[in-house]
Symmetry: C2
Subunit: 355 residues, 2 copies
């Protein structure tokens, strides 16, 4: 074995091997139109024989769009994000697109750096992002101006004219809170942590609406960050206005609440009822099966990729409907209240297991 890596075969090698010009090889590679059946056959077998693969870098340099999308997600260890990311990636792959993954919850500037990396490399033909910072608007706009479509997932950036995949946040939250009200609760606090995401804002809106419709008083507890949630809630639980029910704004908050309530030996739903926004796999197996608003995580990822691919194709086809590079489509997915026991409902009848 020679010690240095062998060079990959190039178009020229294939051309030589099959006795045609490199143009003919290129044509075979890109659709095979205007090539004689005979030439095509020889080229194909030469490609086979040599194990030729087109060199992406050269193609990109020549101006071809890299079949790669950028995917920016805050935290892949969060099951909601990972479910979205998985589905998005699979859908992209199905269409021949690779996915460049960047996570950015590490610190405030991480998202900025992630976008800068994507831009500097010209590595992505389109971007799928769960935006975490309003300041990203500028970079995203610049990318769009350069012809790289952007689709925001789960939330939007005000003023940014991009593709969007949202969920019926307000409706979902309202259903959840309505349900707690049906159970007779008058003192329901809504809990989350500071976030400028409009998805959270929409959930709060849904909570407000349900509360107002019932003539109750809204009580919203917003911590600065997730770590502060337990302390804040505990304080409220021990106060004079201790609530009889909790509505949690996302799965991270829900997990904190669950830990807190267990640690404090507070029984759910007897002492306090709980409904969370965002369902998860093990919810049914918890000490108290969790009633939760289910959002179609995988579908968010799939729809996002589909939308992005459409924008990419629209762009390359020159279909610039409006002034701003064809972005702006919006998809809103439904949510569903999954009733288990933490809300106070009885255990649903078990599926009869013994046949």
């Amino acid at each position: 074995m020679p010690q240095k890596k062998k060079k990959d075969p190039t178009i020229a090698d294939v051309a030589r091997e099959s006795g045609v010009g490199s143009m003919t090889v290129s044509r075979v590679l890109n659709g095979g139109k205007y090539v004689s059946a005979d030439a095509e056959k020889r080229v194909l077998s030469a490609i086979q024989k040599l194990g030729y693969h087109p060199n992406e870098a050269a193609r990109i340099l020549r101006g071809q769009a890299p079949r790669t999308i950028g995917l920016i997600v805050p935290n892949l260890a969060d099951p909601f994000y990972s479910a979205c990311a998985h589905a998005a990636q699979q859908m992209a792959l199905k269409h021949g697109y690779a996915t460049l993954l960047l996570t950015c919850e590490a610190d405030v500037d991480a998202e900025d750096r992630a976008l800068a990396l994507l831009r500097s490399r010209n590595a992505a033909t389109g971007v799928l992002i769960f935006p975490s910072r309003l300041d990203s608007a500028q970079q995203l706009e610049e990318m769009q101006a350069k012809g790289v479509p952007v689709v925001t997932l789960d939330r939007t950036i005000p003023g940014l004219h991009a593709g969007e995949v949202m969920v019926e946040n307000a409706e979902g939250a309202q259903k959840a809170v309505d349900h707690l009200i049906l159970h007779g609760h008058r003192n329901i606090v809504c809990i989350g942590y500071d976030s400028q995401f409009n998805s959270i804002a929409q959930r709060i809106e849904g909570y407000r609406k349900a509360i107002a419709d019932a003539g109750l008083k809204p009580q919203i507890l917003l911590a600065h960050d997730e770590a502060e949630v337990p302390r804040m809630v505990l304080k409220r639980l021990r106060s004079a206005e201790a609530p009889s029910a909790l509505f949690s704004l996302n799965n991270v908050t829900t997990a904190h609440l669950l830990h807190l309530l267990q640690r404090e030996n507070i029984r759910v739903p007897e002492q306090i009822a709980l409904v969370g926004f965002d369902d998860f796999d093990l919810a049914a197996l918890l000490a108290v099966p969790l009633t939760a608003v289910r959002q179609p995580a995988a579908e968010i990822g799939r729809s996002g990729t589909r939308l992005l691919l459409n924008l990419i194709h629209a762009r390359s086809a020159g279909t610039n409907g409006n002034g701003l590079n064809g972005a702006g489509s919006r998809i809103v997915l439904p949510t569903e209240l999954v009733i288990r026991r933490s809300c106070g409902c009885q255990a649903p009848p078990k599926i009869t297991a013994r046949q």
Copy 2:
């Protein structure tokens, strides 16, 4: 606004702007050695002014290694994989490497296609993979032969001389089963689904050792796929040799068991004890807090990336220790038995919550 995307500035533009040759610009870009302070300053400000970014495609075409690693994971929706992937990606990013993500649990050929894509694009300087098919050995070997280091995560491929990050599977499993034996169980079945992964084989080995040391009879239930697990276990539970304890080989199996036991109204640990390999976030909040073997998922990802980066640097530095391109380092991470209640232990004393 003109309607077409403006072209990015090139090195030539920067050179013109700063009144030097493009070589000088290139030198400034790559370390700045052998450049007069004055020239450097002018180049830098021109770069600033023009918003210049080097074109990755051109660099790669010229033979530079793309600062990108490939990450192949079966299923990002599985919390174990997503925790590894997240950590791996963060570590890569910290070193200036982007991550090309490919998931491949969709079907048997998915891994093959993922590797083919990586190879055809020359997109990755190194590959991090949870190998799912023994047949991947060939493609991986070819990649290594071409100078792209490979690190396998969580399991290895026999005969493939690659970097490896493993976990103390046998030891962890043994600790788990020993613990069940300490609880007095004599009839412990080990459950999983068909898989050629040696990580699973090692866990089974640990189970066997513990069972043998106690003079018991090993009972191993291996389903063909995860969907078959519940049926298979249920059958055994209803048989004459119904076990008094279960040892689950991974988190997917554990989830199936948990669902099954709940559906069947079988109380844990009273009627049957359970210990699982692979811990997860909500394990403590389950109806029966799960006793589980914890593996350091994030650390697997981090170590894998670190190892891969080392191999990449060793390669580019030409440090070919042995014949086979410097691969072959192996890292083994410890596991830990986290005792909660499903094994039969009493609830650990609560942390006193009221100060």
